[in-house]
C-alpha cells in the first residue's frame, strides 16, 4: 500500500505515473528513516569493531605485549597452524560436537514427548522448560560447580552408592555436562516447533501403510523434523564452540578451550593479533554454519 499523507490539498488531481513514483519514494524514505538509527548504530558499534578485529589480526605483537599496527603480516594466522593452537581447536570442536550430539539424543525424545501432549499440558510444560533457560547463565554453571566439587553432593552420592569418591570437576566431562545443561533448551525448542508442525495425519498414514514405530520414525518423522534438527544442532554447536564461562568454571586449567584461549591473549598473554585472528576464525565458522542452514532452506529462527 502506498499512502501519501499531505502533499496534496483536499481536492485531488488526476493520477500520473510521476505522482505514483513520488508516493512510492516518500514511503520508501519513511522506511529508511525508521531503520536509520539502528542501522547507523550497528554500523558504528558492530561493523566497525569487526573491521578493526580483522585489521588487528594482521598486526604484529611487539615486545612489550602491545600491538604494532604498521607491519602487516599473516603471522598470527600462521600461528593457527601450530600444534598448541591446533590441539585447542580440535578439542573445542570435539567437545562442541559431543555436546550437540548429547543434546540431540536427549532433546529429540523430549521434544517429541512435549509435542504429543494435549495443548494445555504442553503450554505448562513449555513454561517449565523456559524458566531455567531464562535464569542467569552464570548461576546455572556455578550450581554445577557446587554439585561437582569436593565433598559436594555428587561425591557424597557416589560414596553412598558405594562407587567410591568420584571427582568430576575440572575435567572435560564436567565441561560437557555444563554445556549440555546450558544449551539443551536451545535444542529442545526448535525441535519442538518443528515436530509440532507435522501433521499427525502423516504418521497415521504411515501406520496405515504397514510401517512399524521405528520405520515411521525413520522415514516420516525424522525427515519431516529435519529443519528442527538442523536448527537445534546449530544453536547448540555454535555457542558450545565459543563457550567461555562454562569451561572456565567447570573445566579448570587442564582443559583449555578456544574461548578461554582467546581471552588469555587479551588479558595475560598480551598477543592481541593472535587473539584477533582466533576470534575471526571462530566467527567465520559460525557464519558458515549459519549460511549452510539458510542454504538448506532453513526457516528464520
Amino acid at each position: 500500500m502506498t499512502v501519501v499523507d499531505q502533499p496534496v490539498d483536499d481536492a485531488g488531481v488526476e493520477a500520473t505515473p510521476e505522482f505514483e513514483a513520488a508516493a512510492i519514494r516518500q514511503e520508501s524514505q519513511r522506511g529508511f528513516l525508521l531503520a536509520l538509527p539502528s542501522y547507523a548504530y550497528l554500523i558504528l558499534f558492530f561493523v566497525v569493531p569487526l573491521v578493526i578485529v580483522v585489521v588487528y589480526s594482521f598486526a604484529t605483537r611487539n615486545q612489550f605485549g602491545g600491538t604494532d599496527l604498521s607491519g602487516w603480516n599473516f603471522d598470527s594466522y600462521a600461528k593457527l597452524g601450530e600444534p598448541i593452537v591446533r590441539a585447542i581447536l580440535f578439542r573445542s570442536v570435539w567437545l562442541a560436537l559431543i555436546t550437540t550430539v548429547i543434546c540431540l539424543v536427549i532433546g529429540y525424545p523430549f521434544a517429541y514427548f512435549l509435542a504429543t501432549r494435549s495443548p494445555r499440558i504442553r503450554n505448562v510444560m513449555l513454561v517449565f522448560v523456559m524458566i531455567p533457560f531464562w535464569t542467569n547463565f552464570l548461576v546455572r554453571n556455578y550450581a554445577w560447580r557446587v554439585i561437582l566439587g569436593n565433598n559436594g553432593p555428587l561425591t557424597k552420592t557416589t560414596e553412598f552408592l558405594g562407587l567410591g569418591e568420584q571427582e568430576l570437576l575440572f575435567s572435560q566431562t564436567a565441561v560437557v555436562l555444563g554445556l549440555v545443561y546450558g544449551f539443551l533448551p536451545f535444542m529442545i525448542l526448535p525441535l519442538y516447533a518443528s515436530i509440532e508442525r507435522i501433521d499427525s495425519g502423516l504418521l497415521e498414514a504411515s501406520r496405515d501403510l504397514y510401517a512399524n514405530g521405528w520405520q515411521s520414525f525413520r522415514r516420516v518423522l525424522l525427515p519431516l523434523s529435519m529443519p528442527g534438527v538442523i536448527a537445534g544442532s546449530i544453536l547448540c554447536f555454535v555457542p558450545s564452540l565459543g563457550a567461555y564461562v562454562t569451561p572456565e568454571i567447570l573445566g579448570g586449567a587442564k582443559t583449555t578451550l578456544l574461548g578461554s584461549y582467546i581471552v588469555t591473549q587479551f588479558l595475560t598473554a598480551r598477543n592481541w593479533p593472535l587473539g584477533a585472528s582466533l576470534s575471526f576464525v571462530l566467527m567465520a565458522i559460525m557464519l558458515s554454519a549459519t549460511l549452510v542452514y539458510f542454504r538448506k532452506g532453513g526457516q528464520t529462527l
Binding site: 550450581a143 499427525s200 567461555y244 568454571i249 574461548g259
Partner: protein, 279 residues
C-alpha cells in the same frame, strides 16, 4: 494424536522417563544451590545447619552491592534504548521497502549469531581505538566505563528485540492498518491505536530479553568495563575464579530469584494481555 500411532509399551515408558529426567536435570542443580545457600558449613556443598549468614554477608558487602546497582543501571539503560531502536528496526523491515533493506536485514542477524567471545574482542579493540581517536581529536579523557558497557549491550540487544517484535508484526494482519486508514485515521493514529496495542506483547518480550541478556552477560562486560565499573555477573565470576565460597552461593541465589521474578512477571503480563483474546 490418535492413540493408534502413539508409542506403546517400552517406548512409551522410555519417553515418559526421559521427560521427567530432563526436568529433574534442569531443576535439581538450581534447587540444590538454593538449599546450600542456607547451609552453615564453610565448605560449599556440604550441609551444616540452617543459617542466613551468607545473605547477611552479601548485604554487608559493599563491592557486591555496588556491582548489583551497576548491573541494574546498565540493564535498564540498555534495555530502554535497544527496545526503541529494535522496534523501529522491526517496523521498517516488516512494513516498508527501501534501498539497502536486505543488507540491513542481514546486518541485524549478525549480533545474534556471533559468539560472545568474538564480540567481546571486537568491542575491546573498538573502544581502545575509539577512545584514543576521540581523546586525540577532542582533547578529552574518555575511558572505558559505563558508556562502553551500555553501548556494547545495546549493540547486541537491538537485534534480539527486533526479532521478537518482527515476529509479532508478521503475525498481525496488515489489513488492520489499512482498515484504520480507511476509517479516517492518520498514519500515526493508526500506529498508536491499532499497531502498537497488538505488538506490545512483543515489545514487552523484547524488553525482557534485552534485560536478561544484559544482566547475564559476562565476557563482553568484562572486556569493556573500565576501572570502577563492574556488573554483578562479572564480579561473581571474578570471585569464583579466586575460589568458591558460601558468599557466592548467596549472591547466586539472589541473582536467580531476580531473574525468575522477571520471567514470572512477563508470563503474568502475557496472561493478562492474552486473556483479552488476541492471537
Amino acid at each position: 494424536m490418535s492413540s493408534a500411532v502413539e508409542p506403546r509399551g517400552w517406548t512409551k515408558a522410555m519417553l515418559h522417563a526421559n521427560g521427567w529426567l530432563v526436568y529433574l536435570f534442569f531443576y535439581a542443580p538450581i534447587l540444590l544451590l538454593v538449599i546450600f545457600s542456607f547451609s552453615a558449613s564453610r565448605n560449599v556443598g556440604t550441609w551444616g545447619g540452617w543459617t542466613f549468614d551468607w545473605y547477611r554477608e552479601f548485604s554487608d558487602n559493599q563491592s557486591a552491592r555496588n556491582a548489583l546497582s551497576d548491573s541494574l543501571k546498565v540493564a535498564v539503560f540498555s534495555t530502554v534504548v535497544s527496545v526503541v531502536l529494535g522496534t523501529m528496526a522491526a517496523l521498517s523491515l516488516e512494513r516498508f521497502t527501501f534501498r539497502g533493506k536486505q543488507v540491513f536485514d542481514a546486518l541485524l542477524y549478525l549480533p545474534i549469531i556471533i559468539p560472545d567471545v568474538t564480540m567481546a574482542v571486537m568491542m575491546l579493540l573498538f573502544f581502545s581505538e575509539f577512545f584514543d581517536a576521540i581523546n586525540f581529536v577532542f582533547g578529552l579523557n574518555m575511558r572505558k566505563g559505563f558508556n562502553s558497557i551500555v553501548a556494547s549491550h545495546i549493540a547486541f540487544s537491538i537485534s534480539f528485540v527486533s526479532v521478537v517484535v518482527r515476529a509479532r508484526l508478521a503475525g498481525m494482519d496488515s489489513k488492520m492498518e489499512e482498515a484504520a486508514l480507511d476509517l479516517y485515521a492518520t498514519r500515526w493514529k493508526a500506529f498508536r491505536h491499532v499497531t502498537l496495542p497488538q505488538i506490545s506483547p512483543g515489545i514487552a518480550g523484547g524488553a525482557l530479553l534485552a534485560m536478561t541478556l544484559s544482566l547475564d552477560d559476562v565476557v563482553i562486560t568484562q572486556f569493556v568495563a573500565g576501572p570502577g565499573w563492574t556488573t554483578l555477573p562479572v564480579y561473581v565470576f571474578g570471585l569464583i575464579r579466586k575460589g568458591v565460597t558460601p558468599l557466592i552461593n548467596a549472591i547466586s541465589v539472589v541473582m536467580l530469584i531476580a531473574s525468575m521474578t522477571l520471567v514470572v512477571l512477563s508470563l503474568v503480563l502475557e496472561r493478562a494481555r492474552g486473556g483479552t483474546g488476541t492471537q
